[in-house]
């Protein structure tokens, strides 16, 4: 395979990864890492570096649209970033202390459980119309968005911000320790615990994952894990795909997004389990 074939084929695969990532709020890493290591036989260190670039590209590409359309809740996102960035920073210190293989198995179980929980609530649609959460009220985190699939404005209230913060801290920690799974914990934290509508959850997760990834991107860059010839087609392809994915989110229902999310979550869970067992 010549460099041209490599760049063109990887860019095309990245378009798909970007669209999927933008839709479910997980970033493109879920697709990019296995594609690079299995399909192209690229070293895992460089694949993880490319994955960080793909997460930032998905986030910035999709969030530009989500924030403008108010699908993403900017205040909730920026508030929860306090916990994700702190988690990512503490993860950078803990990376040598904690046994990675055990963590992979543990989080495979966590994600498997949250896939099941998401599947069980796939028909739940009605958002909360009131909240007695003091933090959410004080910072006016509640919001509303126009849903083109339902052709109406949907208002929602946010609850359980403390639980949300805790889960976000863990999400940041995990993404720094394992390189994957940041969005996989963010979406259930918002959709399940804080009761944001599913579409708002994936859009807001998209908005946030770029910041979480940026917190560790500097380390990856300095360690020489970001190879330009891999990063270039990934970045360009993902950005194109994320723009497409952001448009698709408008037209599909929350129930559909939940199903797609569950499928992707199960895939990540198995990927983690494999890493934990095979090492």
């Amino acid at each position: 395979m010549t460099p041209l074939d490599f760049v063109v084929s990887l860019a095309l695969i990245s378009v798909v990864a970007g669209a999927l990532g933008a839709l479910v709020g997980l970033g493109g890493g879920v697709v990019i890492v296995p594609v690079l290591t299995i399909l192209y036989g690229i070293n895992i260190r460089l694949a993880i570096g490319a994955s960080i670039v793909s997460v930032i590209a998905t986030s910035s590409g999709a969030a530009a649209a989500y924030v403008r359309e108010r699908m993403a809740n900017l205040r909730v996102g920026m508030f929860l970033e306090v916990a994700t960035t702190t988690g990512a920073l503490s993860g950078a210190f803990l990376t040598t202390v904690l046994p990675a293989r055990l963590l992979f198995v543990f989080f495979a179980a966590v994600l498997g459980y949250s896939a099941l929980a998401t599947f069980k609530r796939r028909h739940r649609a009605a958002p909360l119309s009131a909240s007695n959460d003091r933090i959410a009220n004080a910072l006016s985190l509640h919001g509303s968005y126009y849903d083109p699939a339902e052709r109406r404005e949907i208002a929602y209230h946010v609850v359980r911000t403390r639980l949300g913060l805790t889960l976000m801290y863990v999400a940041g920690l995990v993404s720094a320790l394992l390189g994957i799974g940041s969005g996989a914990l963010k979406v259930p934290a918002m959709d399940g615990a804080m009761r944001l509508p599913m579409k708002v959850s994936t859009a807001t997760s998209n908005f946030m994952i770029g910041v979480t990834a940026a917190a560790s991107a500097g380390v990856y860059f300095m360690r020489g894990q970001i190879d330009p010839i891999i990063a270039a087609p990934v970045a360009v392809g993902i950005l194109a795909g994320a723009t497409i994915g952001a448009r698709v989110l408008n037209s599909v229902t929350s129930a559909t997004i939940r199903i797609v999310f569950v499928v992707v979550l199960v895939a990540i869970s198995l990927e983690m389990l494999q890493k934990g067992i095979a090492g």
Binding site: M1, T2, P3, L4, D5, F6, V7, Y40, G41, I42, N43, L46, V53, I56, S60, A63, A64, V67, R68, E69, R70, L74, R75, M78, F79, E81, V82, T85, T86, A92, A138, L139, S140, S144, Y146, P148, R152, A155, G210, V211, A213, A215, S216, G218, V219, F221, G224, Q225, D227, P228, I229, I230, A231, A232, P233, A235, L239, R247, N250, S251
Partner: protein
């Protein structure tokens, strides 16, 4: 199938008076118009960052391929593996990047584009801080400032 033509105007129109009881709570300037201005500023920064990085990366790739005949072939002996192996060489420090750029290599230009992409989320947090300050939303400004501090701190941590 996709009602993408809706763009940004429809949600704003639909919002007018549609969300009772949201803006009135607590903080005086958490108003809808203020939030809208912040959203547009943040969205603008993201679009500009993404646009500039794509252009720079594409230009870098073009130069890379223009300078190496072997890269362009669809069939041939040149393999991508030499560029993506565990020992392939590319700039991963600011000094290395400056050196590569001075020699006009496409690789360095791609790296500049990737760095712009990495800095885009940091920049949008910075714009968030300024926007919340301008709208006199002190709690949110402090929250965003903390995030910015952690991000900047993480970059310094990476260097050490």
């Amino acid at each position: 199938m996709i009602s993408a033509s809706r763009g940004s105007s429809a949600p704003i129109r639909a919002r007018a008076g549609a969300s009772p009881g949201l803006g009135e709570i607590g903080i005086g300037d958490g108003s809808d118009a203020a939030l809208r201005r912040i959203e547009l500023a943040v969205s603008w920064v993201l679009r500009v960052g993404v646009g500039v990085s794509v252009l720079v990366i594409a230009a870098g790739l073009a130069i890379m391929f223009a300078r190496h005949d072997g890269y362009l072939a669809i069939t041939g002996h040149a393999s991508y593996r030499g560029l993506t192996g565990a020992h392939s060489r590319f700039p991963h420090s600011l000094a290395g990047l400056a050196h590569t750029l001075a020699r006009g290599r496409g690789q360095g230009i791609v790296v500049v584009g990737v760095v712009i992409l990495i800095l885009t989320p940091v920049l949008r947090v910075g714009v968030g801080v300024v926007s919340f300050l301008v709208e006199h939303d002190l709690p949110m400004a402090l929250i965003t400032l903390y995030v910015l501090a952690v991000l900047v701190g993480s970059f310094f941590l990476a260097q050490s």
